[in-house]
Symmetry: C2
Subunit: 560 residues, 2 copies
């Protein structure tokens, strides 16, 4: 196919530009389509019962055969979590990523549906300098720092423009055992270049904790712990886990790993040769009682206070092998993910009751963030010197702040586009601009085995039920006499404590019988739908007058 001369590159973020998570971007050149990331978003407070939210891919329906591939920048859930649900739906195109990322996707795929990971078509990037051709797209890669191994940046080259997308990123200013990453080489790519920059740090002016500082603090804690040391971190922090295992080996301590996802991540990393453990350093929680307390390191999941994670089990006294002792040192090598403030506070409170040595980021630098700050955003822009700038992968206000940083770093105002989910941005040597018309993007909720079947109606009912409860009245009406038979049944949950509300219930029954008998005794046929509306309204007002609460009222009328 001969490309038109004026073909433009279309950049379409389907998710990740109005919320954090469910990251997904579509690139179109001619008919060819390339996808970057398939992430999930964890539910917000007003999405009760929802497991997670995935990108709305309806725009790609019917275009599956044009999808040349899906690139994954790294293996965090907000970048790969929707893969098992969407890869097949998108026509099972080749998936591209670094080894650890591909293995994580395979693992999630198996977890979702056993035996299906075999059918994935994978293109594994062995060497970061590889080039991959997919339709009209040429893919290149570059190393980035982020809180997971094998995170990469992606270069998407088309005749119209070159996109540079670091995925999630930070600048590690003092890395261990290697040079600080420079992005200067990206200034030499074919122009025009479009920098799509994850901008979670656009309002963060805090000085970053360096890997070196952090590891020195952790090593000191490990070395000087009077008893056992329990370190909770994210399971994907394989690099940190590796360093702790190695240090344990050096000073003759045993390291027990706990938590399903952490053990799995370490297993994958070992299989890939990323972690080479000295014989006998790693042990299990079952065996730690064989060693003196001050020779034991436990690394586990649950630093966010997750209910069923290893740390929660230990603290709640339900772990099979570990209880907290006063002499234990417990380290949260983690940040608090927004939305988890309360659960983290609760687990801290419990822990402080059991241990005298609890260490977290507010006490000491025992965690380095995986995201940049304002200064780093400025630096990377100045190094890459892009022609066009699209801030992505953050809340809208952060994208706007990121745009301000880009302007200060020299990008022209007309060359910056702040996108929404569903924006269609055209880029070519002539310029960059968003089309006026955006794609409609909906929440696609996953709840149990249902994908996208929960809509606003069900969600609003859930919220209402949670706030005020429900109140079902079941009335049996005699067809012949029109009179209520017996006493109406009342079923209520989440409204009042029924046993202590007998008077309220008996008044309600009286009101109900009165209302129905009055209507049925009048002339003409009864309009039951109207009757039900009336019951809802009048009973609602009555209950409100007594309780100042407005439960969902559901009248059931049975004629016999």
């Amino acid at each position: 196919m001969i490309k038109e001369r004026n073909e433009k590159l279309k950049i379409i973020p389907l998710g990740g530009c109005e919320e954090v998570g469910r990251n997904m971007t579509v690139f179109e050149y001619g008919k060819d389509i390339l996808v970057l990331d398939l992430g999930i978003q964890f539910p917000e407070e007003d999405m009760p019962g929802i497991n997670y939210v995935i990108p709305d891919t309806s725009y790609l329906r019917g275009k599956e055969k044009n999808i040349q591939g899906i690139v994954f920048s790294h293996g965090h859930m907000d970048h790969i979590g929707a893969a098992p649900l969407l890869i097949n739906k998108l026509g099972n195109p080749p998936i591209v990523g670094r080894p650890f990322t591909i293995e994580m996707i395979k693992y999630r795929q198996e977890d979702y549906s056993r035996g299906t990971s075999k059918s994935l078509k994978t293109i594994c990037i062995k060497d970061v300098n590889e080039k991959i051709h997919l339709g009209s797209f040429t893919l290149g890669f570059f190393q980035v720092d982020h809180a997971i191994i094998d995170a990469i940046g992606v270069i998407i080259s088309t005749p119209a423009a070159t996109v540079i997308h670091p995925g999630d990123w930070m600048i590690e200013h003092n890395p261990i055992g290697r040079e600080k990453i420079s992005y200067n080489h990206l200034a030499n790519l074919p122009r025009p270049t479009v920098l799509m920059l994850e901008s979670l740090g656009a309002t963060n002016s805090k000085k970053p904790v360096t890997e070196k500082q952090m590891m020195e603090n952790i090593k000191k804690l490990i070395r000087e712990a009077p008893g056992r040391i329990i370190i909770a971190t994210f399971s994907s922090q394989v690099e940190r886990i590796k360093q702790i295992i190695e240090y344990g080996g050096q000073i003759n301590k045993k390291v027990a790993l706990d938590g399903f996802s952490l053990k799995m991540a370490v297993e994958i990393a070992k299989n890939l040769g990323y972690i080479k453990t000295k014989e006998g350093v790693i042990t299990t929680t079952e065996n730690i009682s064989d060693y003196p307390d001050n020779r034991v390191i436990v690394m586990c999941t649950g630093a966010q206070g997750e209910e069923n994670a290893a740390l929660a089990k230990i603290i709640d006294g339900v772990h099979r092998f570990i209880r907290i002792k006063k002499s234990d040192t417990v380290v949260f090598s983690s940040s608090v993910i927004p939305g988890n403030e309360r659960t983290v506070q609760r687990i801290r409170d419990k822990l402080y009751r059991q241990s005298d040595n609890v260490i977290h980021s507010e006490i000491m630098d025992v965690h380095a963030s995986g995201h940049s700050n304002i200064k780093d955003i400025q630096d990377i822009i100045e190094q890459i010197k892009p022609n066009y700038y699209i801030p992505v992968y953050a809340y809208h206000y952060m994208l706007k702040e990121s745009a301000k940083i880009a302007r200060a770093a020299g990008v022209l105002k007309e060359n910056i586009v702040v996108p929404d989910n569903g924006s269609i941005i055209e880029a070519s040597p002539k310029g960059i601009r968003p089309l006026e018309k955006k794609l409609p993007i909906n929440y696609v909720f996953v709840d149990g085995s249902g994908i996208g079947d929960i809509g606003e109606v069900v969600l609003n009912d859930r919220k209402k039920l949670a706030e005020e409860g429900m109140f079902v009245v079941v009335v049996v009406v005699d067809k012949k006499t029109g009179k209520v038979k017996g006493s109406p049944d009342i079923i209520s949950r989440g409204f009042v404590y029924l046993r202590e509300s007998k008077e309220l219930l008996s008044e309600t029954r009286k009101k109900l019988i009165g209302m129905i008998n009055k209507t049925t005794q009048s002339n003409g046929p009864v309009n039951w739908p109207n009757m039900k509306e009336e019951i809802k309204n009048k009973l609602g007002d009555f209950l409100f007058s007594r309780t100042e609460r407005r439960p969902i009222i559901i009248p059931v009328i049975i004629e016999v």
Copy 2:
């Protein structure tokens, strides 16, 4: 009454030591009782529909006549919010506080029940050096810095010990128009002294923003705003509001106040003579269009993203007189209260879409916190040199960290007690110690007009309803034949979208009819309670197998 020689002072925190809010402390000396603060706690994520939580005062039942008075440290809701609900219940004892605090309580009382504030017995502290005698207690006061005017610290003197309680506090290092507060004089009080210290800052190592820095930033923004400037802050920040009004007057700008609670707070402050406005500076939002944009300052509520507050109305385009213009400068002179992260992010996102000049604490120091940091806690302890130390008014882990700071500041380990709600701490010249037995303390939930009637059962139902929804099946059974008559009614909310689940519903009906007919057709009388349990279980499993969701199933069986 002659006091026993060995009488001890009992200190009993009833709230505020395991959560933030619902602050209340009881002091007992002999039979005499003194209460400090009656606050509310705002509901947590797992308390759907709850308006707020108040302290559990069951311990005081029957002792009302011994309550000599209730002292209020300042007028924030977590210190006075439960007053209208509890003062009467506690036998309407005299209430003690500074003028603004007393007026705020009166206002809340009126709001709760019109005409009732007249019956409050108030002791208004006109001069901070006053002494008040209430039974065995002598009360003294001292000035503290906090985010509301008329905040005071309280000195409670008894023969057994002297309690020093600053209420909520911070150290303002660079105040405007006065000296920095010193607490050295509190080291000279009769010994032993017990310092009860609000410890929200016990893990905060950030350098505080000073009032001077903050006001300079705000003034610069006001001065240089190209158009209108809209400043959202807490309604209780009367001092800040006052300074902005005064500055507006100086540079010939008009100040429009908006938001019910803000206008009310300013009104009270004006009546008390705290705010003296120059003629013609204050205007209404209705009249701001009479002035050029760059002469208009709007001060309003809603900085936490509260749904019905002034700022939300303005942003959502439903305010009667104000819409956001691109040229408006909008300032959040506020912190993000824990739990409000999401609503604040959402209002920011909306605002950034409408204005190019949004300023908040992450961008510039436009807010000074009302709470201390680690350094300040250390300083105040070193100034007061208490014999005993009880950290209070924060989460447990913060209290523990505060205790560590106190030890580092020279307080002996055995003289520190970290309390829980319900702890009974005895203090005397011989020492301080918590009794082994604690008072049982329950959540007292306020929901609508119900106080304390919502318990764990109702709350758990609400959570379950929110997560999975409900599923009511109504079956009419013929008494004679035992057979199901007609088709069972199914009423469901929050579970699946019924219109799209016809197949699931018809299968459910079939299953249900089968189950009931099978049982009723067998020999012997039907055990309906057992039948219902069976329906719940089997239907539950069936629905789970189809949806992986577990709604609350409620079977209603009607025999006719």
